[in-house]
């Protein structure tokens, strides 16, 4: 018997629960067809000069951070670095719109957002350096661990925001994900949960054009990633991810909306990853120089610089000051990263469980013995010359 043959199937309509208000008009949820812009438009005049200057300083610092971290990979001081060069406006705005009590849920590419939120630059790099997974206490900074699996941090953000609201705390969670991550099941489940629970969450998709090598056209058939919001019953916003002022405004509105108890927002920031996926990637295999060069014209620092100098808020001296501050940060980072971290191998067993299992106690003793004896099984069996 097929569904159509079920008795009464034609007349069947699901009965909504009393509290459920059907959305009769999805139009308010739909994003505008063009990414929202502030810089270079009439609304730029309304932007707060102090905010624009702060964004500028942070963008310049962020660009330098990306360059320094990439250089550290070449010196073997970082195992890997996924650069966010070109995407700094997204990173900085995400950090700046949050209050101290709010939470940030970054992906592996969002080191810069964590640093802009106040995390120590070296602590932010422990994962990528390879000495520890997370070099900071997430609760202290209200920054979740940089997340390597794609989109899996999004349901965490929903659960945390939901829990905060249950406890009566005025907390918003901002979760970051890439364009590739929007294809993952966890993206869908997180958005659905957030909308159903009206959780105070902001989802920020940084659409940087490629998921490693796969372009957006092969990632989705949706009109835009922001359009995905309407299916869950939340507003979608499309914004120019290289426009720091627009990013700050749109994210700020979404955070305010979440804080008012009006539920989640999905924001797609259209941006571009100027560097390869990581230092280990060869981007020339999947995109041409022409494409990269075209985006250089739309560089987030250049856009803001043009605005600030045009309005007489920034001059050569101001630019030099911002660059010097960034240089000092890079110097400090270099210095600290050039010192070898002191690692205790016994830490391997320290944080698996609250209390070690018998098996872990045995294994810890074995390692302790090996460390004490510099255990060499070949030598012990009469094979010489290994050391």
């Amino acid at each position: 018997m097929t569904v159509q043959e079920l008795p009464g199937a034609a007349a069947y309509r699901p009965t909504p629960p009393p509290a459920w208000k059907p959305l009769t008009d999805p139009a308010p949820l739909l994003p505008d067809p063009e990414p929202y812009r502030v810089l270079g438009t009439d609304s730029a005049a309304d932007a707060d000069p102090e905010l624009l200057l702060r964004l500028y300083t942070e963008l310049v610092r962020g660009r330098r951070y990306n360059a320094q971290a990439t250089a550290l990979t070449k010196q073997g001081r970082l195992a890997v670095y996924p650069s966010s060069t070109g995407q700094e406006a997204c990173e900085i705005a995400a950090a700046l719109v949050l209050e101290e009590r709010d939470w940030l849920f970054p992906s592996y590419r969002d080191t810069l957002a964590a640093v802009a939120r106040g995390l120590d630059p070296v602590e932010a790099l422990t994962l990528l350096r390879g000495d520890r997974h997370t070099g900071y206490d997430p609760r202290e900074h209200r920054i979740a661990p940089l997340c390597t699996p794609l989109a899996t941090q999004l349901p965490h953000a929903v659960g945390l925001a939901h829990a905060a609201r249950l406890k009566g705390d005025d907390v918003v969670a901002l979760a970051m994900v890439g364009d590739g991550g929007t294809s993952e099941g966890d993206f869908h489940e997180a958005l659905n949960f957030a909308a159903v629970w009206r959780a105070p969450v902001v989802f920020l998709v940084q659409n940087n054009g490629f998921a490693i090598s796969v372009p957006l056209a092969k990632q989705t058939a949706a009109p835009s990633l922001a359009h995905k919001a309407v299916g869950y019953g939340m507003p979608g916003r499309l914004v120019d991810g290289n426009d720091a002022a627009a990013m700050h405004q749109v994210l700020g509105e979404a955070v305010a909306r979440a804080r008012r108890g009006e539920g989640p927002t999905l924001i797609e920031a259209v941006t571009y990853r100027m560097d390869a996926h990581t230092n280990a990637d060869d981007a020339t295999r999947y995109r041409g120089d022409g494409e990269v060069e075209a985006w250089r014209e739309h560089d987030p620092i250049r856009l803001l610089e043009r605005e600030l100098t045009g309005r007489g808020l920034l001059d050569e001296e101001g630019i030099a000051t911002a660059r010097e501050a960034a240089e000092r940060m890079a110097e400090g980072l270099r210095e600290q990263m050039n010192a070898d971290p002191v690692l205790d191998p016994m830490d391997l067993f320290a944080h698996v469980y609250e209390e070690r299992t018998g098996q872990l106690r045995e294994q810890a003793e074995m390692l302790r013995g090996e460390l004490a004896a510099e255990h060499d099984p070949l030598e012990e069996n009469g094979v010489e010359g290994r050391r």
Binding site: H133, T152, N192, H351, E354
Partner: protein
């Protein structure tokens, strides 16, 4: 069975027959009453009270915010629980059926099991994942898997399985109170098993990680857990006719694993059979047999044998009795332990 009075912690209660499902429900209720940070969430756990009625009444008593019907999405359920635990709550999630937990596997393996480790101890996750598991209830496909080997292969998780009504209550209370994540496997076919039990004064049980000798014996040790415990106890009774006095060890948890209790038993008896209903190849029995052999080699009179489910996808319900290790298959293994003695 007659009722009996029991006293625990100054409380007195009259014991009467209760099912494992009732004891589990009571454990959830008492944990929620004792600690306002305990939240129950999952598909159908609220109004319906769970498809096995384990969460019956919780939403009514504690409200929708404490016992929440979620959208149908296991990764979302467990992923949200991670965030809730990050904010200081103590979520207890239900996965409804063993094979329904697989969409949540990434959250479990990549985050739940590792968050304490990833954050160098700064952020432990006190999450209990309740998984109704195992076969023997005539469920159609994807409703009868034994998934414990997947979980026990993931460092950072505790893997706990009660086999008695007392343990169902005690181990679940302890799992919820644990600051480490626990995969709590509830043997579906024991949900309706009964024992004298007092909800007002539940018996104190051994902690997670301690195995218990359910039946002392001298000729061989049956090492088992969860749904296979009653099978082993029945086999041990039947074996007395053959002159075999079998000891039955209930592991109660696979992680942590109680090497001491198991090894002490096998050293006494000199023979061991591991019994479980999940597949044998790559299953828990191989690990257990290896551990026993490493510790008891000189005490063993015969190889450590495994009695397990076949290495097949879980069969359709009309065939499952051929797959599940029953009393006869356990006794056959016990008989095979004699080869060394006879030669």
């Amino acid at each position: 069975m007659s009722t009996a009075a029991a006293t625990v912690g100054g409380r007195t209660g009259r014991a009467k027959p209760a099912t494992m499902a009732q004891a589990l429900g009571r454990a959830l209720r008492d944990a929620m009453a004792a600690d306002p940070t305990v939240h129950v969430l999952g598909e159908d756990v609220g109004t319906l009270g769970g498809v096995f009625r384990v969460t019956d009444g919780l939403a009514k008593e504690f409200g929708d915010d404490r016992c929440t019907d979620t959208p149908l999405a296991e990764a979302g359920i467990l992923g949200a629980a991670v965030g809730m635990a990050m904010y200081g709550l103590r979520p207890v999630v239900e996965m409804q059926f063993d094979a329904f937990a697989y969409p949540a596997f990434e959250q479990l393996v990549s985050h739940v099991a590792k968050m304490r480790n990833r954050t160098a101890g700064a952020m432990p996750l006190p999450i209990t994942v309740r998984v109704p598991y195992g076969g023997g209830i005539g469920g159609v496909e994807h409703h009868s898997d034994s998934s414990e080997a997947y979980y026990m292969a993931t460092p950072g998780l505790h893997v706990v399985m009660p086999a008695t009504v007392d343990d169902a209550y005690g181990l679940l209370r302890e799992s919820i109170a644990s600051d480490d994540p626990v995969v709590f496997l509830e043997p579906k076919r024991l949900y309706w098993s009964k024992a004298d039990w007092s909800p007002e004064a539940p018996a104190q049980v051994e902690p997670i990680g301690r195995a218990v000798v359910r039946r002392p014996g001298r000729s061989a040790t049956l090492i088992t857990y969860g749904p296979s415990l009653p099978v082993c106890l029945e086999a041990a009774e039947a074996a007395t006719a053959e002159g075999w006095d079998l000891e039955v060890v209930d592991l109660r948890s696979l992680v942590p694993f109680d090497d001491e209790t198991v090894a002490a038993s096998v050293r006494r008896t000199g023979r061991a059979v591991v019994v479980h209903e999940s597949s044998g190849f790559g299953g828990p029995g191989g690990e257990i047999a290896a551990r026993v052999t490493e510790r008891c080699f000189h005490h063993l009179e015969a190889p450590v044998l495994r009695v397990a489910g076949f290495d097949i996808p879980y069969p359709p319900p009309m065939q499952e009795r051929h797959h599940l290790p029953g009393v006869d298959r356990v006794l056959d293994a016990v008989a095979r332990l004699q080869w060394e003695a006879d030669s």
